[in-house]
């Protein structure tokens, strides 16, 4: 769909004006696993400014849609696109997955958050769980480019849920894959190889862990006894993403921090994961209802399409 023409006076037309600059057009769409998708989205301004570790907030419908944060998995400043990888877990991600190449996303805001602090420190262990491998990718890329030796540990429940194995293999000096059921790589949780690596001499200089909160919590617990600095990237509920609402707040070292502006990365040894996990569940009931509704609507639409 093309941007509407530039009308002189139409009340409420401001909704469209940003499209003149930010088309947010979907350039490509790939299904990475059953419910994980990757999209390249035209967003030249964000692509120009973004650094590893930063995220965007997107919204599908400016009147009634919700705003959800997604990490920028990759970007090309010259070609003017960013890549996002998402799992269909809620209404917005479902609607997003239904979009196709050439469609536009109504609102995309970014790049938000502090970029990852990337420097040459020696050996870095990057741990990615499930969809967390996506946000980890630009960090691995950056760490490698800065001259570090990078060990990547990837974990998933089962083989079919592993994403970006190729890309990681191409970058990592050492790649360890773990699945809960042993269908690929080691039958173990990511914390197992993580502990082993922390026990090596010399110790790794730093660990970056991104994945489900429970995984990050246990990664932080695994490295704590070794005293290895451990960064985690938090994905809390957000609205504005600019520090205006405090909905994304977490407790870090006894202090309240806003993930969107103070993070998203924090010292994993200081994060109160239990509180964060409880806060993530604040709207669980409503979200489950919406998710269910989403599948029903989708089924109805598919049925409708089949009939037509």
């Amino acid at each position: 769909m093309n941007a509407p023409p530039f009308p002189a006076i139409i009340p409420g037309y401001y909704r469209y004006s940003y499209r003149l600059i930010l088309m947010n057009r979907i350039l490509s769409k790939t299904q990475l696993s059953d419910d994980v998708f990757m999209m390249k989205v035209e967003a030249p301004l964000i692509a120009r400014e973004r650094l590893p570790g930063q995220f965007i907030i997107l919204q599908i419908n400016n009147d009634f849609g919700e705003r959800i944060p997604l990490t920028i998995a990759d970007a090309d400043a010259e070609q003017g696109w960013i890549a996002i990888i998402f799992q269909t877990v809620g209404r917005t991600t479902h609607l997003l997955a239904e979009k196709n190449v050439g469609d536009t996303i109504e609102s995309v805001l970014g790049p938000l958050g502090h970029p990852t602090h990337i420097e040459r420190v020696g050996t870095v262990v990057c741990v990615g769980g499930g969809i967390g491998v996506a946000p980890l990718h630009p960090i691995v890329k950056g760490m490698k480019a800065a001259g570090n030796r990078v060990i990547v540990i990837m974990g998933a429940r089962t083989k079919s849920l592993l994403i970006m194995e190729e890309q990681m293999r191409a970058l990592a000096d050492e790649l360890i894959i773990c699945t809960d059921d042993g269908s690929c790589g080691r039958k173990a949780l990511v914390t197992e190889p993580l502990k082993e690596i922390c026990g090596r001499e010399p110790k790794p200089a730093c660990v970056v862990a991104i994945g489900p909160p429970i995984m990050m919590k246990f990664c932080a617990e695994a490295t704590r006894p070794f005293g290895v600095r451990t960064l985690v990237s938090l994905n809390t509920i957000m609205i504005d993403g600019t520090g205006m609402c405090g909905g994304c707040r977490v407790t870090v070292g006894g202090e309240t921090k806003f993930v969107c502006v103070d993070g998203p990365e924090f010292d994993g040894h200081k994060v109160d994961f239990d509180n964060m996990m409880k806060r993530l569940k604040a709207y669980r009931r409503q979200e489950e209802h919406a998710h269910e509704q989403c599948h029903l609507e989708q089924a109805a639409r598919q049925k409708g399409a089949a009939v037509a």
């Binding site: 002189a8 006076i9 139409i10 009340p11 409420g12 037309y13 401001y14 909704r15 004006s17 940003y18 600059i21 930010l22 301004l45 964000i46 400014e49 919204q59 419908n61 400016n62 009147d63 009634f64 849609g65 919700e66 705003r67 209404r91 917005t92 109504e106 609102s107 995309v108 805001l109 970014g110 790049p111 938000l112 609205i239 504005d240 600019t242 520090g243 205006m244 609402c245 405090g246 909905g247 707040r249 977490v250 407790t251 309240t256 502006v261 109160d272 239990d274 509180n275 409880k278 806060r279 569940k281 604040a282 709207y283 409503q286 979200e287 919406a290």
Partner: protein, 496 residues
């Protein structure tokens, strides 16, 4: 106090006005003072508790004229002294009293760009109306001439009649100005700078422009269509509005000037950093900043359970901490979302509440329960992290402090638990640090407010600032006044 319907108020005003007009003689001051102060027609409290639509319905034409006739036309015009943008109040009220609404709005617009908004949200009782001679003569500020209500009437009339034409724009100068934020300060700058023929681009982080007027102040107090009309007027003048664009992240402030060809920039990013109490339990599930609670409802429309994707906490018993407009708005929103009981907890007494008096009254009518001289000590929760109650302390008024206000001091051992499932913190906002942090050389106070000189210029040449980002959380009218000043400086700069 029982609710008087709009029809009753209108009929009484019609009768009184006709009686005055029939006499055909100018009114004596004594007769003016004898006119019944016109009450604002409102929706019935029982009805409005369940709807988001505007509570104050606005004067009828007769009410507006009658209220205007109460003005004594004081030569020294103390009301103007109380107005932050010095609207010629006696003149516009006189025109309104004569029924010449067009003239009245013309006079207001010489000084104010957003009369429909200000008529609704200005704290008139501490500005123009506080100084009003009529109020003084009747020994009650509440009986002062209702300047704000008349202002609202004439401004609404103009918009509804389709007579609010966008100001004319001088020939293009080829100069370009960036305006950051789309709140009242920024809207004013955009209009005033564009008028001179300069190109203006506004940048807004959210997906909709309007600032606090859109995400903070609820529909039942300030309908969003009014703000939309103001933005459309700017666009009709040729101002470009770029939403989803956060300065400091999507583009750095300095890059706008150094790389993108802007000749000047105005920063009107507001006071958007919610303060918390710093007490135990504040990160439990069910504790929100007022910003979050209000944004979910106003901007994201979470009250529309059917259509909106953004969820809102379904509360039964709510405590709101604070005594300002933000606290009233949050409490009244919670009422509308179906809470069984909503409590306002405020450390001082009602007299010190910074909220507009009218809103405190509305909140009470809607059943909000006020707990004065009380404050939260900690918030308690269950093992799932859900709020179950708030421990409060009672206060009493102690000795007057330097400012003459009696300080609240806590009563030892007065702790008690208020059972609630939701706590909304509405104790104010600090400045958002994003722009100062990403703009080297921009000087701020220790509270993070941008420092400007008396032309509105910051420590960096060609960068100006105004509104809440400079003043700390203040008011729409002050933001507008600051915008006016900065716009004048920018126009002078670009002329040279």
């Amino acid at each position: 106090m029982s609710h008087v319907t709009r029809e009753t108020l209108a009929a009484a005003a019609k009768r009184d006005l006709e009686a005055i007009l029939q006499r055909g003689k100018p009114l004596t001051p004594k007769e003016r003072l004898a006119i019944v102060p016109q009450e604002m027609p409102t929706q019935d409290p029982q009805v409005r508790r369940r709807t988001m639509s505007e509570v104050a319905l606005g004067y009828t034409a007769e009410q507006s004229r009658l209220e205007s006739l109460r003005c004594l036309q004081c030569r020294n015009a103390p009301c103007v002294e109380g107005c932050p943008v010095r609207i010629d109040i006696p003149a516009f009220v006189k025109a309104a009293g004569e029924g010449d609404i067009q003239a009245a709005i013309g006079i207001i617009k010489r000084n104010s760009l957003l009369p429909s908004v200000c008529g609704r949200v200005c704290p008139q009782e501490t500005q123009c109306q506080e100084n009003c001679t009529v109020g003084k003569a009747l020994k009650d500020t509440a009986k002062a001439v209702a300047v704000g209500r008349i202002e609202r009437f004439v401004a609404d009339w103009e918009r509804e009649q389709g007579k609010a034409l966008p100001p004319s724009v001088k020939p293009e100068t080829g100069r370009k100005v960036a305006v950051i934020g789309t709140g009242p300060a920024s809207i004013t700058v955009a209009a005033d700078v564009r008028r001179e023929g300069h190109q203006v681009v506004m940048f807004e982080a959210f997906h909709k422009p309007g600032g606090v007027m859109v995400y903070g102040i609820p529909e039942f107090r300030l309908p969003k269509r009014i703000v939309e009309a103001e933005i459309s007027a700017l666009q009709a003048m040729g101002v470009e509005v770029r939403t989803n664009f956060v300065i400091g992240r999507t583009r750095k402030l300095r890059d706008l000037l150094d790389k993108d060809g802007f000749d000047a920039a105005f920063v009107g990013t507001g006071a958007g950093l919610p303060k918390f109490m710093g007490i135990e339990g504040e990160n439990l599930v069910g504790v929100f900043s007022a910003n979050e609670y209000l944004t979910r409802v106003n901007l994201m429309k979470a009250h529309d359970f059917e259509r909106a994707d953004t969820p809102i906490f379904r509360s039964r018993v709510v405590a709101v901490l604070g005594g300002g407009n933000v606290a009233m708005d949050a409490a009244r929103t919670a009422v509308r979302l179906g809470a069984e009981a909503v409590h306002i907890v405020y450390r001082r007494t009602e007299k010190e509440m910074p909220a507009r008096i009218e809103e405190v009254g509305h909140a009470k009518e809607e059943g909000v329960i006020f707990h004065l001289l009380e404050n939260a000590k900690r918030i308690v929760g269950d093992e799932q992290g859900l709020v179950t109650g708030m421990e409060c302390l009672r206060y009493e008024l102690g000795e007057p402090d330097a400012s003459g206000r009696r300080r609240p001091v806590e009563v030892k051992g007065s702790e008690f638990i208020m059972p609630v499932d939701t706590v909304i913190v509405a104790i104010g906002n600090d400045s958002n640090p994003l722009i100062p942090r990403t703009t080297g050389g921009l000087q701020v106070t220790k509270w993070g407010n941008i420092i400007v000189d008396d032309t509105g210029k910051t420590s960096i040449d060609r960068i100006y600032a105004g509104g809440d980002i400079v003043l700390g959380a203040a008011t729409v009218i002050l933001a507008m006044g600051e915008g006016r000043r900065a716009a004048a400086s920018i126009n002078a700069l670009l002329k040279g």
